[in-house]
Each structure stands twice: as C-alpha cells, then as structure tokens.
C-alpha cells in the first residue's frame, strides 16, 4: 500500500476545504497540504449555491446588526462568541474572494452589490447574479492551483480516520479509479466534507452529500452536535427538489396560495415588502399550514404553493435571476417571466455536525472540521440564508490556521502502525466489494431510510413518528451491514462507493433521529407538535451525541451566551 506524508490533510474540496487549503499553503509555503476529495473539487456541491454570501458592506449596516440577526435566526442556540468572530471576519473573507477573481455583481459605482435575504435586517448578501456558489467554488479552485504545495488527491474516497494515541494522524483513502487504498498521513486532519441531505428523499442536495465526514468523526469517537436541526428551504421544485433561491424573494418575489393571496402577509414574519423575507424555518411552516388549510395547489408531485416573479419583469429576471429562469424552464417547464413557479419546502441544510470549538478544533487532538460538516455553532437551531458560504470561508481559514500551528508542534505518527490500520480498513472494504452473499440491495435500504426520515423528521414533527424513525434507523443500521453488492471490479466501482456512503447515511440518520426525539420543545427548525413552544429552562443547550455500539449516547453542551439575551423571536 502507498503511504503519503503531508503536514496537513484536508478531506473535502468544496468551499470550506479549498479555503482551508489556500490558508494553510499561504501561511506556511514550505508545508505540504493534501487535498483529498471524492469528486474533482469543482464538482463539490458548493457549486449549486445560488443566492449569495453574507457580510456587512453598506453604510446602514454594522457588525452588531449582523450578529444580532444571526443569533436571533439561530433561535438563541448559536454560540455568541463564534457569531461575533464570524461577523467580524466575514467582510475580509469576501473581499479576499473578490480579490481572487470571483465575478460579483456590482453597484453602479463599481462596488460590490448586495441584496436582501431572509432574516437579515438590511442588504448584506454579496452575490454573483444567482450563481454565487458556482463562482465562489471555481474562483477558489482556480486560485488554489497557484500553490505548488497543495497536493490534490482527486476522486479518492476517505473511509477511515487513522488515530494513534488518541490523536488523528491521517486517513485511509480508496483511489476510486484504481480501487487501491492509500495511507495519507498528516500531522493534522481537517474534515470539510459537507452536509448529508441525501438521507432525505426530497432535498436540494446533490447525490454526493452523504454525511461522510460526520460519520467518520463519530465512529472515531468524536461527538456530533445539534443533529436534530435540519433546515427546510421554503422553495424547492416539486419532483426533483431543485432549489429556487431565496434571492427570488430578496429581489421582490411573492409567495401565493391557491387563492392568489400573498399569504405571508398574514403571518407577520416581516412587514410591507419584507413579508416574504422571514427566516426559513418560519416560512416553511407557513407553507405547510397553508397547504393543510386547503389553500395549496395539487400537482403531479404533491401539494405546493406558487412563487410569483412575474411582476419583476423580464429584464430584472435576466440580469439578477438568469439561473432560476433556466432551472424553472428545464426542470418544471415554467417560464417565471410569465408564470408563477410551483414550490414546496425541501430539505436543504444541516445545522448540526461535528462538534468543534471557535477554531474548528474537535475534542480529538489533530482533528479539525469546517463548513457544513462542522457545527461551530453559528447556526444554532436555524441558519440564515447566505451565512453558510461565508461560514465555509471564515472557519475554513480558522481551522487551517490552528491546524497548522498544531502540526508545527506535533511529532510525526508511527508509520507502521498507522499503515496497519489502513490495511485493516482496506481489508474490510475488500470484503464488501462484490459481496454477493449479502441480503438487500443498496436501492432498497436507501428507499426505506429516505421514507423513514421523511415520515419522522419533517417541517413539523411528532413524538410518535419520531419514535418510529428512531426504531427504523436503528434497525437499518443492522441491515446495512448485510448489503448485497454485484460489482466485483476494482476500477471505478461506484456501487462500492455508494455502499460506503449508505453506511454513513444510516449512521448520521440515527443520530439525527435520536437527537430529535430527545428535544421536547420547539426551537428553530425543530418544531415538535407535542411541545409547541421553546423551553429555555430545560433545553437551552447543544445536544451532543457520542458513538456507542448500542446506539447514540446523548449529552449536553452549554450554549455560549453574551450580550444578546434570549427573547421571543418576532419579525
């Protein structure tokens, strides 16, 4: 087996991973940085982000406001020290991105333009028409290519963290093209593997978003945090789940029910032209309520409401929302210039993730996490749209900085023993490849997992259905160990990769289920019909879940409060 040595190993080539790589490479030009990704970096799902990235930019804005909006958006579960750091670093990080070539849209005077977004007091979302993620990812990827000390492992799948004396010292990775394992050693490892929306059937996430990093850390004994909080974006296309960005409402679009009414006006999430710019958890609930009250529209892919952009006019749609127009045309056959777009709430983002501190450090020495796979937490119980791309930059850089300091002071691991761990892992996966004696197929287990998650952990949740979800995921964890695989080839065996991903998904889903069932209150995106209000006395803490062969073991972690005192969340 090949053994490669680096100073830092970054797992993931999306926004967070690339930013971390650039920071590490720049901070220490003599250090060697491995960037390991299961897809070519420009395929990472950061590419799909449409709306924009938040940082204060205008005279009518300040750090205090961005901080408060984020804390309030999080339903007071965000850590205020982290949020403070985040809003302070955000403008510098976006300026760097601009310097590195990101083609931001501009104001008339040539400064970077900002747009309105949900839950944000003023316009602070920097955008590139409606393709910020695509442009951000490509700008970062292309900029990263100038650093000769970034060594890429494209299409390598990481399936295990290598741990020695309680410290993380590398990863075992499968080269998808050859089917051979490698040991990739580093004095520090940073997980930037993104979210896991694919555990749900109806999601904006691409097929690669399977929660791998969360499962890797969890199995290595590092806790996951706040996994019950799943963001439903209000406006996904029925059928495919493809996202129609919140920027449509930021630019003045309306949501309408079957009676043609701008129903959000009645819900009090914002006044006047801000009626549609409430936070996502609230707007998703409003849509479900409208549908349950019989004011939804029915279609081939279920009930929905309408996103009306027709009053914006063709010019504005073409200049600000051209991708939305393309997506609506190609994927639902609607031209938004003339016809409202059918939309319904869709699983979008995981607020929870690998538990880290403000520097991206986990409790395991040498292991860091950033981006959607991490839970710092600035997002608490509900993320504000456009904060997460900025989070990838701010905490990707922070994690790299701290990982580099840690790496400089730490000795190299014992190559023989780490390699032996990787060989054991290679053996496990080798036994899985083409495992015809197994029971069930990947597609069957995935379908069941998807159905269980949708039934138990929707926009509204109930104790009974969550209980059923807990049972289903625990049972699936047993069944996924007995998969039946057909493909015996070593070369580009995507069935094998999908099997490894499915095992990760089941693990993450079970933690999500158990965490959700335990939280007997309603906070942010976790809305429990049996306990309809927030309960700060009993539940103002982060949920911590630790791996145990019998199932997740739960604990608590204090929320870092500060100048913003929990209050009723009103818009």
């Amino acid at each position: 087996m090949d053994v490669f040595r680096h100073d830092i190993v970054i797992v993931g080539g999306g926004g967070a991973g690339l930013r971390a790589a650039i920071e590490a490479a720049e901070k220490n030009p003599t250090a060697s940085i491995a960037l390991v990704s299961k897809v070519y970096p420009m395929r990472s799902h950061t590419v799909s982000a449409e709306g924009g990235a938040a940082a204060i930019a205008r005279d009518d804005d300040n750090l205090e406001l961005h901080g408060y909006d984020t804390v309030k958006g999080s339903d007071f579960l965000g850590d205020q020290d982290c949020i403070q750091y985040f809003v302070e670093q955000a403008p510098k990080e976006l300026a760097l991105l601009e310097n590195w070539g990101c083609p931001f849209s501009r104001n008339e005077d040539g400064t970077v333009a900002t747009r309105a977004f949900g839950g944000m007091t003023t316009k602070r979302t920097w955008y590139a028409a409606d393709k910020i993620g695509f442009h951000m990812l490509h700008a970062l990827f292309q900029h990263s290519m100038r650093f000769k000390n970034i060594v890429r492992y494209d299409e390598y799948f990481v399936s295990k963290l290598l741990v020695e004396d309680g410290a993380c010292r590398g990863v075992a990775a499968l080269d998808i093209r050859t089917g051979e394992y490698s040991t990739i050693l580093g004095r520090a490892v940073i997980l930037t593997t993104g979210g896991g929306g694919k555990i749900f059937p109806f999601t904006t996430n691409g097929t690669i978003k399977t929660g791998d990093g969360m499962a890797l850390a969890y199995r290595a004994g590092v806790p996951l945090k706040d996994m019950e909080f799943v963001q439903y974006h209000p406006t996904g296309l029925p059928g495919t789940g493809i996202l129609i960005t919140e920027a449509t409402r930021g630019e003045g679009g309306y949501l309408r029910n079957s009676e043609g009414d701008r129903f959000l006006v009645e819900y009090d999430y914002g006044v006047g032209n801000k009626a549609e710019l409430g936070p996502r958890d609230m707007i998703s609930r409003a849509i479900v309520q409208e549908i349950e009250a019989g004011r939804g529209l029915s279609g081939a892919y279920g009930d929905h409401v309408l996103l009306d952009l027709t009053h914006l006019g063709e010019d504005k749609i073409n200049s600000r929302l051209p991708f939305v127009r393309e997506l609506a045309n190609v994927y639902i056959g609607v031209d938004p210039v003339t016809t409202p777009i059918p939309v319904r709430p869709v699983v979008h983002y995981m607020m929870g993730g690998v538990d880290t501190d403000i520097h991206g450090a986990t409790e395991m020495p040498g292991l860091y996490a950033a981006g959607e796979t991490a839970c710092v937490s600035i997002n608490g119980a509900n993320r504000l749209g456009s904060n997460s791309l900025t989070e990838c930059l701010v905490f990707g850089a922070a994690a790299a900085n701290h990982a580099m300091d840690y790496a400089n002071g730490s000795a190299e691991g014992n190559e023989a023993s780490l390699r032996a761990q990787a060989e054991e892992e290679a053996g496990r996966v080798e036994n899985l490849r083409g495992r015809k004696k197994g029971g069930e197929r990947i597609s069957e287990i995935r379908r069941e997992l998807n159905l269980a998650m949708e039934a138990g952990f929707g926009v509204y949740r109930e104790q009974a259905s969550m209980q059923a979800g807990v049972g289903a995921t625990a049972q699936l964890r047993g069944r996924v160990a007995d998969l039946r695989l057909e493909d015996e080839s070593k070369v580009f065996n995507t069935e094998l990769i999908t099997a490894l991903e499915l095992m990760n998904m089941v693990e993450v889903a079970e933690v999500l289920a158990v965490s959700a069932l335990h939280r007997k209150e309603s906070r942010g995106a976790h809305t429990c019909k049996d306990f309809p209000t927030r309960n700060d006395e009993e539940y103002l803490y982060h949920t911590i879940a630790r791996h145990d062969p019998a199932g997740p073991r739960l604990g608590k972690k204090d929320v870092v409060l500060g100048k913003w005192v929990p209050e009723e969340r009103k818009y």
């Binding site: 083609p103 931001f104 080839s489 069935e495």
Partner: protein
C-alpha cells in the same frame, strides 16, 4: 410512461479488451432526463454500470456523455427528445476509465496551464504565489464585468472537447474550455497577467491550432461560446505580439 431501449457502452479494463454495448429496457417517465434513465438502470437493473453525476441541476459538470452520438449534459437533456432507442457512450476524445467514465488528467493539465487565477503586476515583481488584498475590493463596473462574464460561466463539462475536430486529431491542443478560461482572466479588469498568458497562447497546440469549426460553441450547455473566446484570443495574441515588437512590455489592458 414509455418503454425505451437504453444502450450503454460497457468497458472494464480488467476484463474487456475493448468497449462493448449492452441494452437495457427501461420504463421511462415523461419528465425524465437522460441521466434519470442511467440512474434507473444503476439502481434497479444493473448495479455494475459506472457513471458520474452529482448536482442533477446542470451546474457541477459531471454528467457529460455522448447521447446518440452527440455530447450532452445528461441531467439537462430531456429523454423525450429521443426515439425509443437511446445510445449512451462515454464522452468522445477522452480515454475511457470504465463504462461511461472518462479520464480527466489531460483536461486538468490543460486547465491549469493557462494560469487561471488573477495575476497582479506587484506580485509578479515579488514572485510570490499569494495575493493579499491590496485594498478592500477592486472596483469593477458592470461593463467591465460584462467583458468576461460569459467566459466565466464554464462548468468544465468537457462537451466542447468531445465535439472539437481539432482535439480529435491533435490531443495536445489546449482546447476550447481552457482557452476560454485563460481569455476570461485576460479580460478581467482586475488581472494584469495577459502577457504571461499570451506567452502560453503563442506556444504550440494553442489558439492558432483552432480551425474555427464552431462545434464547441454549438454543444456548450452554458452558452460560454468558447469559439468566440478563441477567436478573440487569436486576435489579441497577434496584436500583443506586434505591440511587443515596439513597446518594452507587451500590450497592457
């Protein structure tokens, strides 16, 4: 729902000497894209079929394949555009790794070779591979943005390489997307590296190899119009070369 015969190219280098074709009968929903049919085969009929995809919303660039002989982004291409037999092959002009999966090494190499990043004069002078903000953000007018915006829309799907007659004969040709990318930076008002890149464009297998067949622009799913980029780059290279004869530094923008 209609039944279609989907023909997939199969190739496993460990077993097959050359690619072969395999037919599958697939019950197709009316709303399906070509990719949905391949995914159906993978999930429900034959799990050994290998292909790449991720976003299914025409932005990650993974899912390019030949569909009835033409390079297509399969998550964007409606299956209903085809009759009852649909022939799906790996992208042309690339080595096959397996089944519908092609090798990107050559493409990535070309891509990196055009120095696709903002180059500043100051940094060139200091010979430093980093870029700290010289100021907050650069000013850029909407017009200046418009000069290069179109060429920045490339999703690296590589369809243009499959369509290009020059790539087919001259594998070392930089090719449409890479030239468009280099040109995109040359046109960016924040960039000062045009001269460096023009040295690259002047080399062998570059802009002057292009016979202006325009196939690349016709197949591009993102309207990048790489043919226009190549043409502009040719023109710019000639001018800069001429200027270079009389000026101490080549053409600046």
């Amino acid at each position: 729902m209609v039944e279609k015969t989907i023909i997939i190219t199969r190739f496993d280098p460990d077993r097959d000497e050359k690619p072969r074709k395999q037919e599958y009968t697939v019950p197709c929903e009316d709303s399906w894209k070509v990719l949905d049919a391949v995914n159906f085969i993978k999930d429900e009929i034959d799990a050994t079929v290998s292909h790449r995809w991720s976003c299914r919303m025409a932005v990650c660039g993974s899912c390019g394949m030949m569909v009835n002989g033409e390079p297509k982004l399969t998550c964007k291409t409606a299956l209903s555009d085809y009759d009852d037999r649909v022939d799906i092959e790996p992208l042309a002009n690339f080595p096959i790794v397996r089944d519908l999966v092609v090798e990107l090494d050559g493409f990535m190499h070309k891509f990196e070779s055009v120095k696709p990043w903002i180059i500043r004069a100051k940094e060139q002078a200091e010979d430093k591979a980093s870029l700290h903000p010289e100021k907050d953000t650069f000013g850029q007018s909407t017009e200046e943005l418009g000069n290069f915006k179109q060429f920045s829309m490339c999703i690296n799907c590589m369809l243009c390489y499959s369509a290009c007659p020059v790539v087919a004969n001259e594998p070392d040709f930089l090719g449409p997307a890479a030239i468009a990318l280099g040109h995109r930076y040359n046109l960016d008002s924040r960039d000062e590296g045009a001269e460096e890149r023009h040295d690259i464009f002047r080399g062998e297998g570059t802009v002057f190899s292009c016979s202006y067949a325009n196939e690349c622009s016709e197949v591009c799913p993102k309207n990048v119009d790489p043919a226009a980029a190549i043409n502009q780059a040719k023109f710019g290279t000639v001018i800069d070369w001429a200027k270079g004869l009389v000026l101490p530094r080549g053409g600046t923008k």
